[in-house]
């Protein structure tokens, strides 16, 4: 492999790209340590006296705005986000991984149509189905429940898991599975001991993506739940108050909401880069 040689031009270009993408993030982090007064000062100052006030009030749930204080249970929103995202991903993996295997290995009547129907959930704008869904949910009692939201989140996460993992299963050589079965293992053992471990990078990638999509979802939770189940994406709206926008607290809320996804991405990274076939098959 040819190693990329370092040239000044290349370095400068990479710096520009890095600044372009990282600047908003750094700005948000800086904002989260400023008071609203510092943020709104014009021209902005690079040096200010940092304060933890935004974080403290978020965690305590008491917002000190311009006029008086109001309570916003942002920590509860965080908790809701974690519950909704984790449950959605777990349910999607339990349903999606075996389904992906079936789609990858077996040709059955209507199989392609089913797989495509699941994918088509990703094309339709959510608003198209949301209002009727709201009526159903109110009637059958799923409105404002974790169960109901996790169910609807499957529209986002299940197709993702299914289609990504399917591709990885297709790349696992059938010969390896046949060899394992000829060794005397059942197909179930083959699925768990051969297919799943070999598709693990794909499963990790799909789970991570599904988690991010679930975490960032806004519209489903906005309409199908009240504040008791709503995640951070909806919760952050509370900082746009009648007396003004609490920029500092929004920034702090955003920084907090990014942390779980960031940690998860770093943690799954080593599975993502892990090669698939690891050299057991002659190409």
């Amino acid at each position: 492999m040819k190693s990329a040689s370092f040239s000044p031009v290349r370095g400068i270009l990479m710096l520009i790209v890095a600044v372009f993408f990282l600047f908003p993030l750094i700005w948000i982090v800086l904002m989260s340590f400023e008071t609203n007064g510092d943020i709104l000062r014009s021209p902005p100052r690079l040096f200010f006296s940092p304060t933890l006030h935004n974080y403290v009030s978020l965690i305590l749930g008491k917002l000190g705005g311009g006029v008086g204080t109001m309570t916003v249970d942002y920590m509860r929103n965080m908790m809701n986000s974690v519950i909704l995202s984790v449950c959605s991903v777990v349910v999607s993996l339990i349903l999606g991984v075996p389904a992906a295997y079936a789609f990858a290995r077996f040709k059955f009547r209507g199989g392609e149509d089913m797989a495509f129907t699941l994918l088509s959930f990703r094309f339709a704008p959510p608003l198209l189905v949301l209002l009727p869904l709201l009526r159903y949910f109110q009637v059958i009692g799923l409105y404002d429940t974790y169960f109901g939201l996790v169910w609807v989140y499957q529209l986002i996460t299940l197709p993702l898991v299914l289609w990504i993992v399917r591709g990885y299963f297709e790349d696992v050589s059938e010969d390896i599975e046949l060899a394992y079965r000829l060794d005397g293992h059942s197909w179930l053992a083959t699925f768990f001991k051969i297919a799943i471990p070999l598709a693990r990078p794909g499963i990790a990638a799909a789970a991570l993506l599904a988690f991010i999509y679930a975490w960032n979802n806004f519209i489903f939770a906005l309409i199908l739940g009240s504040s008791s189940v709503q995640p951070v994406t909806v919760g952050a709206l509370a900082f746009i108050t009648a007396s003004g926008i609490e920029y500092g607290q929004i920034a702090a809320a955003l920084v907090l909401s990014v942390i779980p996804t960031l940690v998860l991405a770093i943690f799954t990274q080593r599975y993502l880069v892990e090669g698939l076939s690891l050299g057991a098959i002659k190409g």
Binding site: D175, I176, R181, D183, G184, H185, L198, L278, A280
Partner: protein, 360 residues
């Protein structure tokens, strides 16, 4: 006593018959080599026996037991694959031990048996490695060890030497027959290398387009090929296939090959408009005119192992291969076209039908 019996087996994919009404038997402890060009259905046949795919019709009987409808895990076969098919996330040790794990054998015995078979295949120094750390030769030895360890009565080998380098292939070609004999097992071996087929097979089944065209010992196939196609598949350089006609008035004692009349030894069944099959080693080349010899030009000379292969061109343009031990012909190595004389030794000749290629 036949150990493996394949009865009228058929398999089609999208109306394309890949295996057509195939029947054969393999005796206990015999090694049957299934030989054929790529696309002949060799791998499909092996997969049918292994149970990975189900036949449309027909039966497979092993040791008196009909296994046609059994799942692969209940067939108790050993198999090694062209692409090795090792489990990439397990060490060579666990790969080899896999058939014992499914039988829930005690760890101490697993340990002993893995080391025994690894030693036999000379890989006991690398059993702790993952497959990616093994050379191709070691990978195939690991795969063979895995197929042997549970002492199956029938072993299927799907072109196992295809992806190893020439040196390892040569070693294994010598080593494998001993190894298989020592394990006392019946073997079905698939290959598309005729040398491998000749070296390893007690018998060879020649598979072409999903049908067995000939099933016989290697010697028989080489000496009495059932048709011109099989004759061409065995031998390097390939057999010469030359159209012949009988010389009028000679009562079949003379035939005309490449515009030259050649005397035919008694008994050979030539007829007008058939094809003569003549191995290159039965064509002698000299630089002096001899009675009955054919005037030719030497177009090219290439060394092949300890022999020299010559491409000859007869006066009418017919190309003929000849081969002779190296140094046998003084001056044959000189460059450029040269005039020479070819003498055809027809005592080992074959005659085939022009249309169907069937042996006459």
């Amino acid at each position: 006593m036949s150990f493996l019996t394949v009865q009228r087996l058929s398999k089609a994919y999208k109306k394309q018959e890949v295996i057509q009404d195939l029947s054969f038997t393999v005796d206990r402890l015999e090694t049957l080599v299934v030989f054929g060009p790529s696309g002949a259905g060799k791998t499909v046949l092996l997969r049918l026996i292994a149970g990975m795919i189900r036949p449309d019709r027909g039966n497979i009987i092993v040791d008196g037991r009909d296994i046609t409808d059994l799942n692969p895990e209940h067939r108790h076969l050993g198999m090694a694959f062209q692409n090795f098919a090792l489990y990439p996330h397990m060490t060579a040790y666990e790969n080899i031990a896999s058939p014992l794990r499914s039988r829930r054998i005690a760890q101490s015995e697993v340990d002993q048996r893995v080391h025994e078979v690894a030693k036999l295949l000379r890989i006991d120094h690398v059993v702790s490695h993952l497959p990616k750390a093994l050379s191709n030769g070691q990978k195939q030895r690991t795969a063979l060890a895995r197929s042997l360890i549970a002492k199956p009565n029938l072993i299927l080998l799907d072109d196992p030497l295809r992806n190893v380098d020439a040196k390892v292939r040569y070693e294994m070609r010598l080593e494998l027959p001993q190894l298989l004999r020592a394990r006392e097992t019946t073997v079905v071996y698939v290959t598309q290398d005729y040398k491998e087929a000749m070296a390893l097979g007690d018998r060879i089944a020649v598979l072409v387009d999903g049908r067995i065209e000939q099933i016989a010992t290697p010697r028989e196939i080489y000496e009495r090929p059932a048709n011109s196609r099989i004759a061409r598949l065995f031998g390097d350089p390939p057999i010469n296939l030359l159209p012949v006609s009988t010389v009028p008035g000679s009562q079949g004692a003379q035939i005309r090959v490449a515009s030259t009349d050649v005397a035919l030894p008694g008994g050979a069944g030539a007829r007008d408009g058939c094809v003569l099959g003549l191995r290159p080693e039965d064509v002698a080349v000299g630089f002096e005119a001899q009675p009955g010899a054919m005037p030719v030009e030497i177009d090219a000379v290439t060394p092949l192992n300890d022999r020299e292969v010559m491409l000859l061109r007869a006066r009418d343009g017919t190309e003929i291969f000849a081969s002779a031990p190296q140094g046998h012909m003084a001056g044959s190595g000189q460059r450029g076209r040269r005039e020479a004389w070819a003498t055809l030794d027809l005592s080992h000749s074959h005659f085939f039908d022009t249309a169907g290629g069937a042996r006459l």
